[in-house]
């Protein structure tokens, strides 16, 4: 029976916004005007394409960042527990070794990424020319 209530709630939840949009569409006057359909109404007139290409290397750095960000999430509770665990008599092989292995695996990955040049900021020839062109105009 409780499911009926939830279902009813969902129905009402969908119905209210739909009803509001429908009612306002009926009541409001229709004044079509071109400036209403611009990107920034009563704002700047946009120039150029909205299609901006970011350098792919931002994503490489971002990915590496995320990896180490997540790593922190894992390390934090471990760091909190570590001292009390040692005091409770947990041997180092149980308390410290797992984290060393975990970090070690990440380090292998990082070293590899470094060595194949994933974090090297190479300059793109095409991007450089485009930049100078923009500055000249």
């Amino acid at each position: 029976m409780s499911w009926i209530a939830i279902g009813a709630l969902a129905l009402v939840g969908i119905a209210i916004p739909l009803a509001m949009m429908a009612v306002s569409a009926l009541l409001r006057p229709a004044v079509p005007e071109q400036s209403k359909s611009t990107t920034y109404e009563s704002g700047e007139i946009p120039t150029g394409s909205g299609h901006v290409q970011l350098n792919i290397q931002y994503y490489m750095v971002a990915l590496l960042f995320v990896v180490f960000d997540i790593e922190t999430v894992m390390i934090f509770p471990w760091a909190v527990m570590y001292r009390s665990a040692l005091e409770a008599g947990t041997p180092l092989s149980q308390a410290l070794l797992p984290m060393l292995i975990f970090v070690g695996i990440l380090v292998v990955g990082l070293v590899w990424a470094w060595r194949i040049g994933a974090v090297e900021w190479t300059t793109s020839l095409r991007a450089a020319t485009q930049k100078t062109e923009r500055q000249n105009t």
């Binding site: 499911w3 527990m81 009390s84 665990a85 409770a88 947990t90 092989s93 149980q94 070794l97 695996i105 292998v108 990955g109 070293v111 590899w112 470094w114 060595r115 194949i116 040049g117």
Partner: protein, 508 residues
């Protein structure tokens, strides 16, 4: 209870029990380390050898454990590690044997496929990490480890599908696969949270015991189980989460298609079999009849996969749909499960496991044959395959073996695995599943034999000079897969016995 009060698992014991997984992860790291030492050298041979050695050693350890009875009732039952989050038993080892064999074949084949690749280390390490994750999926005994290992297997797969960065098809396939994968992972995680809400545990055995007391939360539990099932259906490319499969298998490099359609599918089933057999059995009466759900989905998947495959003109896409059809066959292993019928359940699930093993070889071989064709650059359609048997008889003969075995002609391993599966379904009272399976198998002979017809019966239409080059690694992998497919007919006994014993241990 504080975490500290739990008896810690001995590291050495855990490492040796998880031997195959450890070897796989070490070889993946070794691949990265070798490449880090000399990133600019042409090191394809070294990397392929490391990866192949890793998978083969892992396979050897798995087979040794299976023969020695590790984690099986004869030697004291399943080995529980890390507070029960991981359990090493016959089923886990059986599936690990599938993953490692497929990975070994794919690695050996990729050696030729990646000959001109700038940086093959990424490929091998991704492949090995995915295999590692699959071997973890096979032994995961808690919904948390299930989820993490499933994601660990999926993420490298997305990258592998999109591995050909400059190929539009490959990138598009990778994106589609990733998007559908992300959605299904979300559904799956939500399902886990609902199951946890209803039962208060993530450990599979604890869930099973708690299901009896859920009473008014049965609805929540039911929705949770359905969502968890959705996650598995994605991983196994079953209806209704199959849409990614044709695109991904067609767009991906063929060795990756081989890996995904064989190993990744098997991994999905490994974890689905364990979760549903161990945790959700009592829910059949309480929350939701998931057996019926899987039954309907199995029928739809078999029919859709086989009929769609029959209409294809592109061979790789045809195999992709046929792979969906085979997911339907394996789903019978879950569909024919009924509460309180332990022996029948174990028989049919064991048969599904054996089918996945045979499928691992025949389907991997078929996709690797396509990898060979891709490397020769002959073309993709049935017409392009015309007359290849004349120039490359050994490989074409192996392909004929794969096709006839996939169709279930009683000459190769594929016959027994299907026969046992259908027989198990009939014995469990699900004759309609067996009937649909038999009819769709008969239909499948039509489209599988089209490949054989093109290879052997047609006259060559295009220029086949490219076939003069003989890629050694690909040839070796295809022929080994072919020989094993043939040998699995006389040697099916040990396979089915191991599988059924492993399944029986899970249901016990």
């Amino acid at each position: 209870m504080s975490l500290l009060q739990i008896e810690p698992t001995s590291w050495l014991f855990a490492l040796s029990s998880l031997g195959p997984t450890v070897v796989l992860v070490l070889s993946a790291l070794a691949v990265l380390a070798i490449d880090s030492l000399s990133p600019d050298a042409r090191s394809n041979t070294r990397l392929a050898a490391t990866a192949a050695a890793g998978t083969l050693i892992a396979l050897g350890i798995t087979v040794w454990y299976l023969l020695a009875g590790t984690g099986q009732p004869a030697t004291g039952g399943a080995i529980s590690l890390f507070s029960g989050a991981i359990v090493v038993d016959g089923m886990g080892l059986f599936f690990t044997a599938i993953f490692t064999s497929v990975a070994a074949l794919v690695v050996v084949a990729s050696y030729d496929y990646l000959e001109d690749d700038a940086n093959p280390a990424a490929f091998y390490s991704l492949l090995l990490f995915a295999t590692t994750a699959m071997s973890l999926m096979a032994v995961a005994n808690s919904l948390a480890t299930v989820f993490i290992s499933l994601e660990m297997a999926s993420l490298p797969s997305y990258a592998l599908v999109a591995y050909l960065k400059t190929n539009r098809g490959s990138v598009e396939a990778g994106l589609k696969y990733f998007l559908i994968g992300a959605v299904s992972a979300a559904v799956f995680a939500f399902g886990i949270s609902l199951v946890y809400a209803a039962t208060g545990s993530l450990l599979l055995p604890d869930i099973a015991t708690a299901i009896g007391d859920v009473t008014d939360l049965a609805g929540i539990l039911g929705v949770g189980i359905l969502m968890v099932a959705g996650g598995f259906l994605f991983k196994t490319a079953s209806v209704p989460f199959h849409f990614w499969a044709p695109e991904a298998y067609e767009g991906a490099p063929a060795p990756v298609s081989a890996f995904l359609s064989s190993a990744s599918k098997a991994a999905g089933f490994a974890v689905a079999f364990r979760v549903f057999a161990e945790a959700f059995m009592p829910a059949l009466d309480v929350a939701v009849d998931w057996g019926l759900l899987f039954g309907i989905l199995a029928v739809v998947t078999m029919v859709l996969g086989n009929f769609a495959a029959a209409t294809q003109t592109n061979v790789k896409r045809m195999l992709a749909y046929s792979s969906i059809g085979h997911a339907g066959y394996a789903l019978i292993g879950l569909a024919a499960v009924t509460a309180g019928a332990g022996a029948n359940n174990a028989t049919v699930m064991g048969a599904a496991m054996a089918h996945l093993l045979v499928y691992g070889f025949m389907n991997t071989g078929a996709f690797l044959f396509i990898a060979m064709i891709e490397r020769w650059g002959v073309g993709r359609t049935f017409e392009d395959y015309a007359g290849i048997g004349r120039k490359a008889p050994m490989a074409s003969m192996a392909m004929a073996v794969f096709m006839f075995s996939l169709a279930g002609l009683p000459l190769f391993g594929g016959f027994f695995s299907k026969y046992f599966l259908f027989l198990g379904a009939i014995n469990a009272g699900f004759w309609w599943l067996a009937a649909v399976g038999a009819v769709t198998s008969a239909l499948s002979l039509y489209y599988y034999s089209r490949v054989v017809k093109a290879l052997w019966l047609e006259e060559p239409t295009g220029n086949l000079d490219a076939l003069d080059s003989k890629p050694t690694g690909l040839y070796a992998a295809v022929i080994v897969a072919g020989v094993i497919t043939v040998l699995l007919l006389p040697g099916f006994g040990p396979v089915i016995e191991t599988a059924e014993a492993a399944a029986a241990a899970v249901f016990a």
